[in-house]
Structure formats: C-alpha cells, structure tokens
Symmetry: C2
Subunit: 332 residues, 2 copies
C-alpha cells in the first residue's frame, strides 16, 4: 500500500469521516471536549487501520519541545553496569512515552550546544558532571536538566541524584569485622573522580565511626606491575593494611594481579572487595567479593524523576535510594 507517503492525521480524519481537529482531540485524549464514545471508537479504528503514527517533527515544531530525553554519556569507558543502565533507562522512559537517546559528549565533534539546540529534547539527563553555563543555557531554552552525578547549577551545590557514598560504606563495613586497617584502591583515570571521591568518603566515614585509622589511599593502575607497587605500599604501612576497598571490579582485579605478581594471595595476605560484579569478578582467582547496585531501580527512579519534573511536580532534592547487594565470594 501507501508507497512512500506517510500517513497523516488528515488521512485518519478522512477515513473516520471527521475533521482533523477531532482526530487530534481523540488521539490525545483532550479532556474538555465532549466527544461521544462512538466517534472516539471510529477514530481509534481508523488510526489503527492506517497504521498512523504522529510525526514527532511536526509535534515538536508545534509544541516547541520533543518527547526525547537526551542522555549525556560520560567519557570514561562504558562497561557492563553503565551499558545495562542505558538499556534500562531506555525501557523505563519508553514506559512513560519518552524516547531515551544517548549521546557521547566525550570528544565533541560539534559543540554540545548544537546538539541540544537542534533536537530540543524535553529533558537532558547528564550521566556525568557537566558545565554549569551549559546547564543554565538549557534551562533558559526551556529544557529540564537532571543530573545523575554530582553537579551544581549556578553555584548552589545540590546533592547527586545517585549517591555513591553508601557503596564505599558497605565495602568498609564488610571488611571492618576482621580488618583493623583499610586501604582504598583509587582508579587511575582522572574523569572517575566524581565517582571515586564519594565512594572513598563513604569508606572514610565508616572508618571514623568504628574508631579505625584513616584508610590508606593509593592509586592503582590497571596492570599487574603497577598494582604490585601499591600492594607493597599497603603491606609496608604502619599499621599494615589488611583489607582493600577497590573503586570497582577492574581495579580490584588489578590488586589481585598485583598480589599474584608478588606471590601473594587474597584474602590471606590482603582482602579485596570490588564494585559492579562484572563477569570477570566471579571468574577471578580467587573469586571477587563485590558490591552490586540495583541499576534497574536507579533507571526507574531516574526516569520517574524526569517524568515528574516534566509534569511540573516539585521534586525532593534527596538522592534516589537504590538497593545495594553484597555478593560475598572468596576475596574478602
């Protein structure tokens, strides 16, 4: 059938024997119009029969905003968790009639401004920290801006939507039982500070609460030799470090490799706990104890936040609460 030409609401109107306006009212469920059930049904049927899908472009042009939520990806590697989060966000937004679309703003070939000016998304969900001026400009253009990470707008700092703090705290609390001195394996990638700092703060806080000394923080590169250096440092510390909270599983894997490089082994010589439960975690020698977060809950929460904000509801500033799960294996 219809070769090329797209089905418009005018086609539906003709098919249903009503005017275009009526079609629009029915399909959008406009409340203050008295339209009898019979007519409604005719319109619904006609639309279905023709396979009508409204043009997002026309709609966006008319209303001044699209139904697109733009996700800004961070420039650090997209691994397991982040990948899953993207898929889950897509689904969560789809359930709310929004199309989630991600854009890597890593090495912008075009300035970010062009991107959002062009697509006029209803909202922008920043999965990374980003420029305040940019955020302000978006707001001025009528775009809702939601940040998942730490971020401040016009100087007024607001808490991150997704809080990293509890992750470090959980790691520390797990290790604290047998271990009296903890170390923190900090990632070797500058961009990760937004995540790493709050996690480390969580560890610090628990140490303080339990009257333990400050955690011994060392940057751990993702290679066995470099990691071995950090391990040597920990073991030589005074008092010696016996348990390591790693920024994530990859860093934890590096610590394990460092240990192995020195002929040592977890948890005997040094206990290690990671974050994320990547595939390699359960396959490591020894299998890695790790913290998993409920990314689906985060995705839903984030989506709801955005939807509510778009709906005009005022949102509490508190972070989302997402379940954390401790997956205990052998490394700690």
């Amino acid at each position: 059938m219809s070769e090329g030409r797209r089905v418009t609401s005018a086609d539906v109107a003709r098919e249903a024997g009503v005017s275009r306006a009526t079609v629009s009212y029915v399909l959008n469920g406009v409340p203050h119009q008295k339209i009898p059930e019979a007519t409604r049904q005719r319109v619904w049927d006609a639309a279905a029969r023709l396979g009508y899908a409204p043009s997002a472009a026309a709609r966006a042009l008319r209303t001044g905003r699209s139904e697109i939520v733009l996700g800004l990806l961070p420039d650090w590697p997209i691994e397991h968790v982040l990948g899953r989060l993207i898929q889950q966000l897509t689904n969560a937004f789809a359930e709310n009639g929004l199309t989630f679309v991600v854009h890597s703003s890593a090495h912008p070939g075009r300035p970010l401004r062009d991107i959002w000016k062009a697509m006029t998304p209803a909202a922008v969900l920043a999965l990374q920290e980003f420029d305040d001026l940019e955020a302000e400009a978006m707001r001025a253009a009528g775009i809702e801006v939601v940040m998942a990470m730490h971020g401040s707008v016009r100087g007024e700092p607001r808490p991150p939507l997704v809080s990293e703090h509890p992750i470090g705290a959980l790691q520390a609390r797990h290790l604290a039982a047998p271990h009296r001195r903890l170390g923190y394996a900090y990632p070797d990638l500058p961009g990760l500070d937004v995540l790493a700092q709050p996690r480390l703060d969580g560890v610090r806080k628990v140490c303080a609460e339990l009257d333990m000394p400050e955690p011994d923080v060392r940057t751990v590169p993702l290679d066995a030799v470099g990691a071995a250096e950090a391990v040597k440092g920990w073991l030589a510390a005074d008092p010696p470090v016996t348990g390591i909270c790693a920024f994530n599983d990859n860093v934890a894997l590096a610590v394990l490799a460092g240990l192995s490089h020195l002929g040592l082994r977890a948890p005997r010589d040094l206990a290690v706990i990671g974050v994320d439960d990547i595939t390699g975690a359960s396959l490591a020698q020894p299998p890695l104890t790790t913290v998993v977060r409920d990314t689906d809950a985060i995705a839903r929460g984030l989506a709801r936040r955005v939807v509510d904000t778009l709906g005009g509801k005022e949102i509490p500033a508190e972070p989302l609460r997402d379940g954390l799960l401790l997956r205990v294996r052998e490394s700690a």
Copy 2:
C-alpha cells in the same frame, strides 16, 4: 538575553537586512543562487552574532527527514568494545554533521516501529540482526537501512558489513603452530550466535586449510564449575584438544577459571586465546592472549558507509576492512 524565545532564521534575516529566503540559501550553501560574497558574509555574521541554530524539528518537517542516525543496540550486554564503538560512532557521525543516537531495542516497551516512525531518522544502523519486514517498512518510509551484522533483506542475503570471520581465523592461525587440535569455546547466550557462528566458521576454515581436524566446539557457561566441565571434555577428546579459541575474553576467562578449578593452568595444559582485550584480560592469571579489532576504523567505516549511502552513492557490498591486532600475552 532573549528570554525563552528561540532565534529563528527570520531574526537572522532582520539582523542582516535581507529576506528569510536569502538567509536560507546562504546558510545551506544552495549552489544555483547568485549571491555576492558581501551579502553572504553579512548573513554569516548575523547568524553567528545571534547564535542561530536551525530547528531540527522544522527542518525535519519540511524535508521529511531528520539528521539523526538511529543506532539499534543489540540485547546482549554492552561491554567494553561495544561501548567504545558507540562513542566512536557518535564522533564519526558528528564529523559528518549527523547526530548519532542509540536506542536499545532489547525489550521494547514500545514497538520499534513507533520509535523510527516518530523520529524519522535519515538512516538506521542496526548493530544487531533484525526483522526483515521491519527493514522493508523503513525502506518504504524512505529511511536508509544499514546493517552492521548479518542480515538479509527480502530474502536476498547480503554479507555482513563488519565481518567476524577473520577474528576466528586469526585465533586459529596463532594457535595452529604448536597445537594440532583446536577447541572452540562457544558463548552461553543465544543472542550471540550472529557473532559466534561466523567467528567459529573462521576457525573451521583455517583448520581445514591446515589439514587439522574439525574444532571441538563446546558451550562454556560463565562460571568456573560449568567451564571446568567443558575443559574436561576437551582434554578427554581424541585426539585431545590443546588450544582453545574463545568467543571473547569473558568466555576465555571462564575457560581459565575452569582450568584453575581443575588444578590446571594455561598454556601448559590448554592454551587459550580470547577476543576484545577487556581490562580483565591483561590482569588474568595467566595474562590472556587476545585479538583486538580496530573499532575506530569500524566506526569511521560504518559512518562513511551511511553518509555515502545518504549521498546517493552506490556502495560496494563488500565488508569493511578493519585492522586486527593479535595481543600476545601468556595464555597462548
């Protein structure tokens, strides 16, 4: 300044003291119009001064297509390589004035059809196999469809744009020197067949060329115990398998874990080679030998393909050629 209202081409026209049409001609570089350099400059300046960015919605409405390239993500986990590919595709398309946007079609909250009907992308880049009817429907709607994976349209099978074959071949050739019987560690996730089959075929072909027996294919689950079963099978085969080509690094890691579970070790008891060079590969015990592909080349190639297709050029059906690198470590 301009609180709320967006800058339109009419504003630019007023600022430059010309008509809207002239602005449009200048900014779009329409060839068959005689416009003196002086006027061009005035328009360019005015546009820059006002910070004009054309409305994608209006443009899309007018032209019937947007400048968006929709990437359809597969439903398998987005790891390292795929994540990097997404970022690189974004950049590659950006360099060509296109906005790359990905959508996870994993568990479609809405039918896929609604998505692309709504956003009318200029092209769809499927990173996974997908429905022929769907593809046909898109084509009918004037959307260019490009497939990165295996895919056939209306029954006529066409070769995949990104070929997986050479990966398996390279793995096999590397192992073939000391090893006379190879095994293939097949992933335990049905969706991965599109990738796994061609890779396995590559291994098969090399085995045949070198007068070696057929590879011994076993499905390897991502846990040590399950993987150990597969390992036992290989070692007990007749003639025994001594080298394993794994579908990817995670599967290779599983094989390593299986070996370790049995008190064995690579490469002494069984050589293992993976694909992707994920972070965990270099950190494994022993460090994993693996095949890396040049995803940046793939991204650029894919982007160019799409851009050329949109430009009306007829494209050769041959797959992209991407560099393959063998990263030799200790496991094989």
